[in-house]
Symmetry: C2
Subunit: 213 residues, 2 copies
């Protein structure tokens, strides 16, 4: 198994957490987003979307999109499941994960921030306000949803970490990186602390990666 | 079953296609995005994210996020499957769906366009250039991916429509609405034509909905 990623990419970080929770060994290949490595012809041939992560299985299968990779890992390596056993639980966990992966993270991607600056003339203050707006809106909804559905749960869904936690922790890392105030989200911070106590989350952290700058 | 949606919402449109492909009867409840219906306290209590769609199952279960709803429908009503039977196929279909649901659609949502105008002073030309940029970038990658993986396939993955088609068709509708040139994507247009020939896709079309404006 091989993972093409980048230390600070939220989407790659999600997959690293999933692999670590399942104790799966894998090779890493850094794609330097800050130096446009994702647009290199060799990488574009592997992944036409020119985004990270990209996962290569032992048989050579190429899978892109972090949530598709994690679902695939969960189906092909089912020990230590990352999704609940029941359809309703799976739906709740997927909805939490997608509310981050669709409605928060893509808006604050490097390529979007570059466009805001280059094409819409956004200065640093406008760029940071944009980032804080979408992260705060998304995290507030997530906090409400978790309090409504799982008020006493240690992780996003129950007592074991799973797909939603794989998405939440990188998003909180990202929020801190951009100075977004997390004090209004005590439930998210409690889950963050529960995850931080586990070796899998520590091992997957951006600063622990070989390509960390 | 009940679906809270909006005729022109891409995400609600995806779920309508899935329900129609499975021939499942359901009630509809329009949430008027153009009149901020998604922020009404009654709806916000049901869905803290204040987005459509929201699906209510017969037992009262509430499920948000279009892809989570479609996966749930596929697990609980497995006749006429929308995902392939093998893990590798499922991963490919999910990756195609997510490349639309994460990396194209959220950037062109109403709330994002409103922010561009109100906070970043984007005029109509700048807004339309933004929309065209993200849609074209995403569709070009999708076209390459489909030609690479499924050159002779009638739908996104094989000879039956599924989850990826549920995402592609609303995205093409959206692209046309904003005047994006689709000529560079013959493979996507061929899939679009194959889908348009099926009653389920016709029935789910925005113009066929009671709340169409």
């Amino acid at each position: 198994m091989k993972l093409y990623g980048y230390w600070r990419s939220s989407a790659a970080y999600r997959v690293r957490i999933a692999l670590a929770l399942k104790s799966l060994p894998y090779q890493t290949q850094a794609v330097h987003l800050a130096h446009a490595g994702q647009h290199h012809p060799d990488y574009a041939a592997l992944n036409p979307q020119q985004l990270v992560p990209l996962f290569i299985d032992d048989d050579g299968s190429r899978i892109s999109q972090s949530l598709a990779i994690i679902e695939y890992l969960d189906e092909t390596r089912p020990a230590i499941p990352l999704l609940p056993a029941d359809a309703k639980g799976r739906a709740q966990v997927r909805a939490l994960a997608l509310s981050i992966a669709c409605d928060i993270h893509p808006l604050n991607n490097l390529r979007v921030l570059d466009y805001l600056r280059a094409e819409l003339g956004a200065d640093d203050a406008a760029k940071n306000a944009w980032i804080a707006h979408w992260i705060s809106l998304g995290l507030a909804a997530l906090e409400s949803r978790l309090i409504q559905d799982h008020p006493a749960s240690r992780f996003c869904h129950g007592e074991q970490p799973g797909l939603a936690d794989c998405c939440l922790i990188p998003q909180l890392y990202n929020a801190r990186r951009f100075g977004v105030d997390l004090a209004p989200y005590p439930q998210l911070l409690a889950i963050d602390a529960a995850c931080a106590a586990l070796p899998a989350f520590a091992q997957a952290h951006p600063q622990q990666q070989d390509d960390a700058g």
